[in-house]
Amino acid sequence: MNPFLRWLVVILALSAAGPAAAKLRVFACEPEWGALARTLGEEQVEVYTATTARQDPHHVQARPSLISRMRRADLVVCTGAELEIGWLPVLLRQGNNPRVQPGQPGYLAAAEHVRLLGIPTRVDRSEGDIHPYGNPHIQTDPHNIARVAAVLTDRLVQLDPAHETGYRQRYRHFANRWQQAMARWELEAAPLRGGAVVTHHEGWVYLTHWLGLTVVGHLEPKPGVPPSGAHLARLLQTLKTRPAKMVIRAAYQDPRPSRWLASHGNTVTVTLPFTVGGTPGAKDLFGLYEDTVQRLLRAGR
């Protein structure tokens, strides 16, 4: 036999010999989907989360470690809506995994299952780093988590039908607790309704929509463009006529622009977790919103 063919046979035999009936391997692009998959799958799934709350999900390197995790994933759960356009396509193409290609049951883009806000009317790069399908930062509204949880449960059942009862049971339990928690958060956050805020990136439309906050400006002159001195000065002028209660930024963003604006614009900064792990309080999905609401309330006082 040709030595090349012989190697090929050995390699194929090695690849096929995977552990049977193992846990479902979930590759989550962002911490919120990793946390959700863990909640719904518990001991049936092995979850790998590609990014942390300290990283900007727009700018992640297609690292070798991510490629090798992609290779063995049974289910890839990402936000979609082009949030991961700078790195996920490379992982999908280099990961050599047919099960998780878009269109397969093993690929779940959360943004396809919720109502997207902030769909641009003009798609042009001069508008900054905009997302033609709408704002992808859907995890800042817990109602979206509830919707994705239902879809993710169905997907887990589809890929691992043997454990359907467990997935469904955990989903029911989660959905009940989640409904109650959302009602509580909404009640607690009611005093915030109508409050004016400035956000660092246009990453909070779902949060401001959920809690009824009014956004009077962004620190970034255009999405993805770092805050400039000139823009901050203009923003300061805006704040004179439309004062804002607080300046919101995510844990991964540079704190300096928001601090500058807060100190000059007679307002306060608030650092929100943005995703699971973003603050010490945001240990899981419940903690994420609990902490978000509490931090907003403290800042709004």
Binding site: F4, I11, L12, L14, S15, A16, G18, T51, T52, R54, Q55, D56, H58, H59, V60, Q61, A62, R63, P64, S65, I67, S68, R69, R71, R72, I85, G86, W87, L88, P89, V90, L92, R93, Q94, G95, N96, N97, P98, Q101, G103, A111, E112, H113, V114, R115, L116, I119, R125, G128, D129, Y133, G134, R147, A150, V151, G224, V225, P226, Y252, D254
Partner: protein, 460 residues
């Protein structure tokens, strides 16, 4: 309800004192009334309990249908993409890269050479003065459910010369192969080395490392097939091989062999903590040029042709660091590549037809570091070197072909600074102290790299 029964009873019990007989009569009446009340309430309690049970059942089914409704509602609630109205909806993603600038050299670029190395026509210096350099056009799309295709053309229009359109890459991939296999066929940049498979606009310096000029004619792309296999392990391990036509430098001309070049490469990599990640690669390229053309220059190097074996072995390493793994504000990329080439065959000087047996062992490499110190701004430094140990039966032929280094080892120091207004645009200023030749060439390069349209993600 219980409370009202008790309250009723208590109110009755509190009715004032009276005579014993009347009391007896009253008591009987009261007892009857209480019994009456009790019956009434029991009936109403039963009714209410029944209604409650019904309501609960209804609520359960309502919840079920609500959940179903929610599932139905949420799926289409995801904003439906505008319905494709024409065949244009299937147009491939289109990306244009404009890459040009201004180059200034202290030496005449026409005299450029790398002593000890045959130089490909693509491997010289970029044109002096303002130039639009090379414009790149890429079309890519899924062909169907099995294939992905990509075409990259480079348009080069030198001042006063004819416009050339080259197909840099035209390949297909099959992303749905099982067992961790990946295949690519058509024309593509070989997977050897680190920089070689990356498009020039993604390189961190305006010009190619000297080792790439000397060993790969700038960058090695060819027609053929590539197979990659990814190990099913948490540690990244990738093995790959290519069968290529061997028509391009370091190959050249096709003799009897249908596949004039073959390659093997292996990559591994991983993370160190949350802030660092790395990749290490080894590669080997075997080529058997039939007639590889070496470029003449204005300083006496004659055009020559090489036939024989040319085997290139390389090691490449890259290490990337960013605080907490977030490269947006600050990051550092350190990379290095090392090559050794073994060549044996015959060299012929084209003009005179004189030829000689030749064999050589050559080394070359580069090391570079690029640091982004604040959003959008980066600085970088690079060191390049080459060394050749060539022998031939007739040294005068080697001298004419520029294959004897006369004791000079080429080297180069480079400093670079660039500014990226967004991830789609970059302006770069670079200074090279080029000691390719004994007299140092001081080179200033200003470069712009602009990316229009769809832009594919970059590999690590």
């Amino acid at each position: 309800m219980k409370r009202s029964v008790i309250a009723g009873g208590a109110a009755l019990a509190l009715c004032g004192p009276a005579s014993h007989a009347a009391q007896q009569e009253d008591l009987a009446g009261i007892r009857a009334q209480i019994q009456q009340l009790r019956n009434d309430y029991q009936k109403r309690i039963d009714e209410l309990e029944e209604r409650l049970a019904q309501a609960e059942a209804q609520a359960r089914s309502a919840q079920r249908s609500a959940r179903r409704a929610e599932q139905v509602a949420t799926a289409p609630a995801a904003v439906p993409p505008p319905a494709p109205k024409s065949a244009n909806a299937y147009n491939p993603a289109l990306s244009v890269i404009l890459m040009g600038g201004v180059n200034a050299y202290s030496r005449d670029p026409g005299t450029y050479a790398l002593p000890g190395f045959q130089l490909d026509s693509e491997a010289g210096l970029a044109e002096e003065g303002p130039t639009i350099g090379e414009s790149e056009l890429t079309f890519s799309a899924n062909v169907d459910d099995q294939y992905y295709g990509s075409l990259t053309t480079a348009i080069h229009s030198p001042a006063g010369g004819a416009t050339e359109v080259n197909i840099e890459e035209a390949y297909l991939e099959a992303p749905r192969l099982p067992a961790g296999l990946g295949v690519k066929f058509g024309r593509f940049y070989s997977g050897i080395g680190y920089l070689n498979s990356r498009h020039r606009h993604a390189w961190n310096f305006a010009d190619a490392p000297l080792a790439y000029r000397a060993f790969l004619g700038g960058q090695y792309g060819d027609d053929g097939v590539q197979i990659r296999w990814l190990a099913p392990t948490d540690r990244f391990i990738e093995l790959g091989g290519e069968l290529l036509r061997g028509a391009n430098f370091p190959g050249g001309g096709i003799g009897d062999s249908r596949f004039g070049a073959r390659s093997l490469f292996a990559h591994t990599g991983g993370d160190i903590g949350i802030s660092s990640s790395w990749r290490l690669g080894v590669s080997r390229l075997w080529s058997r040029p039939h007639a590889r053309e070496g470029m003449a220059n204005d300083a006496g190097v004659a055009a020559s042709s090489f036939a024989g074996d040319s085997n290139l072995t390389g090691v490449d390493f890259v290490w990337k660091w960013a605080p907490a793994g977030n490269p947006y504000a600050r990051n550092l990329v350190v990379q290095a590549e090392l090559f050794r080439r073994d060549e044996a065959g015959r060299v012929t000087v084209n003009d005179t037809g004189m030829s000689t047996a030749y064999d050589g062992i050559q080394y070359g490499g580069y090391a570079q570091a690029v640091y982004q110190f604040m959003p959008r701004w980066r600085i970088g430094a690079r060191y390049d070197w080459l060394s050749a140990d060539n022998h031939g039966a007739d040294p005068s032929v080697l001298t004419q072909a520029g294959l004897l280094d006369q004791g000079h080892k080429p080297s180069r120091y480079t400093l670079m600074m660039d500014f990226a207004n967004s991830e789609f645009s970059r302006l770069r200023l670079q200074y090279d102290q080029d000691r390719s030749l004994p007299r140092t060439d001081r080179q200033w390069l200003f470069q712009y790299v602009m990316s229009l349209g769809a832009h594919g993600a970059h590999a690590f």
